[in-house]
């Protein structure tokens, strides 16, 4: 799953997020109606399965990026979105839902957003195909524009998202993963859809080419920041989850930035005696309770939290820089507020509890 590791890591939005999304009330309601209407386009036998996936409990971050990227002014809040923006918001959400369905199969996840996953509810076999059907429908909707531009952009992003997930899967449990590998994986698996959402929103709203390009790059940077934040929260989020999540992460062999930074620090400090970085990672990947608690304590002691939080901040600043030349645009102002929101979320994590 592109933006979090299990349903338990899907955190409630802080009030600041809500303030941005309050503007999108009409937009989201239209999207919801539109997504429900799409169910009629599925074969009767799989309508229930598709319905199950198109639930309303998700954060709908990607559609929000479409709507904010296509924002033209205050009047938009009341007027609501154009039919084209709604359609493209549905496209990115359906692609995202399809990747979630496939991810849950791979992770063997049973619960997402407090409900059984499709894989558990209908079996992994039907879920593979359900994901395919959601993908296909997203692409079909993306052909309902005057040109092939939207469809081409969506197909291209889908391919990148898949590539990112494949690389992550192939590297799982491998002790040879670098910072560059991690960046590449999150760039493909998470940032690409954020980028696409901002790009299509700005593009369909008729933005100037320079702004469209800046919005797209903003989206990419925001996506990288969001994923790093999410990976950080897996170690330093709600205290009830900490040990468990760390164990889950290591057991699944997913290597994220907090662990990479820990490795750097342990290697630099010689904490593992003569062992090299790869040997140390291999050791960590094979250890079981109560070692995760030890690793978490080490993370706190060796300053992993601030280092990873800094990495989020670097991306957020780069994202803001992209929009700086377009400060006069309503869309730029609103998108920029998302950086503040994410900053607040990082601040809300509790590094102290790990010590």
């Amino acid at each position: 799953m592109p933006d979090s590791k299990s349903s338990t890591t899907e955190r409630a939005l802080p009030p600041s997020f809500a303030s941005v999304f309050a503007l999108l009330k009409t937009h989201m309601a239209r999207l919801d109606v539109y997504l429900r209407e799409q169910l009629a386009a599925f074969e009767p036998e799989i309508r229930d399965l598709a319905d199950y996936c198109i639930d309303t409990s998700g954060k709908r971050i990607r559609p929000s990026l479409v709507f904010l990227g296509g924002w033209t002014g205050d009047a938009d809040a009341e007027r609501g979105p154009s039919a084209e923006l709604v359609r493209v918001a549905a496209v990115v959400e359906l692609v995202h839902l399809a990747t979630l369905v496939h991810d849950d199969i791979m992770d063997g996840a049973l619960v997402r957003r407090n409900r059984s996953t499709a894989a558990r509810e209908y079996g992994p076999e039907a879920s593979v195909l359900l994901g395919d059907a959601l993908f296909s429908h997203a692409l079909k909707l993306s052909t309902q524009f005057p040109t092939t531009e939207v469809c081409a952009a969506v197909a291209d992003s889908m391919k990148k998202v898949c590539a990112g997930e494949i690389v992550q899967t192939l590297r799982r449990g491998s002790a040879n993963i670098s910072h560059a590998d991690y960046r590449r994986i999150i760039d493909l698996k998470t940032a690409e859809l954020f980028r696409l959402s901002c790009f299509l929103g700005a593009r369909l709203a008729g933005g100037a080419p320079e702004f469209v390009a800046a919005a797209a790059e903003f989206g990419r940077r925001l996506g990288v920041a969001y994923q790093i934040y999410d990976d950080l929260a897996d170690f330093f989020g709600d205290e009830h989850r900490i040990g468990k999540t760390l164990g889950t992460d290591l057991a699944s062999g997913k290597i994220t930035l907090p662990l990479l930074v820990l490795l750097d620090r342990l290697s630099a400090g010689g904490a593992n005696g003569a062992g090299g970085r790869s040997e140390l990672l291999a050791e960590i990947l094979h250890e079981r309770e109560p070692q995760p608690a030890l690793r978490l304590r080490q993370m706190a002691e060796l300053g992993v939290f601030p280092a990873v939080a800094d990495a989020v901040e670097d991306e957020l600043r780069a994202a803001e820089q992209e929009l700086a030349p377009h400060a006069d645009q309503s869309a730029a102002a609103l998108l920029g507020r998302l950086c503040e929101v994410l900053r607040g979320q990082v601040g809300g994590l509790r590094p102290a509890e790990a010590s």
Copy 2:
């Protein structure tokens, strides 16, 4: 997998097929070059996986339908296909390969066309995503046409193929499956891509609307005939496979026409005493060796082979009827020869060996 149940059921083409496909030598060579070129468009990490799937040992029936549907005359054999036909032939083949990759995961198949399946070679997780990447690339190629027509048609067909596979998966092992259910499943999972292939071939070659519609419907009928033939061959094909395949079929709970006809005959003859049709099917689905041999003997005794062969023939005649008003077209003549080819393949099966 849409057109056969395991690699062992992929039969060699008879000489008659070869005579039609000999015309397509240049076309197939161009397709092969084009498919190889596509590998560069995949992220480096998944290029090998994609390469593994784009092998040349398949029959490439769907690309053939594209080329034959777009046939304009004898000169085509030497001149070769237009760039658009090659692209769309690659699209239908990639969609087909993607469904094979996903099907092999679901069936737990280890071997296809005498090689390990992608699922076995790279693991089911990476294979889910590899299938997605192949789908995405197919759709991306389908956006490289002047209008959205091709992409829309491909996305729509993909959704239908997935729906067919989902229905088949959900119904697996269910004793409540009717002839109508079976027809609907093969119409979606197999006939739809045959239809799309003929449609796009005829359309891109600039065929008249009536011919394009007829070619599409021909493709659909041929696809139904092909799948029924393939299901028949699973019971009455090469003798070394018979018992094993019957067992495999029943074990996987896939219910195909030969079994449905057997049920009809057993029910009508009261061979199962007082038990109803559903009870009988449930019984068959739960029995193990040596019962499959018994069922096969019953099939031979109760005339299942000719009944199913007749069903193939009905579809082939309907397919030929579609093309009858267009007998002056080169494409119609060539497509029509495929019916003769399939007829010959049905004739080549050996019902006697089952008794």
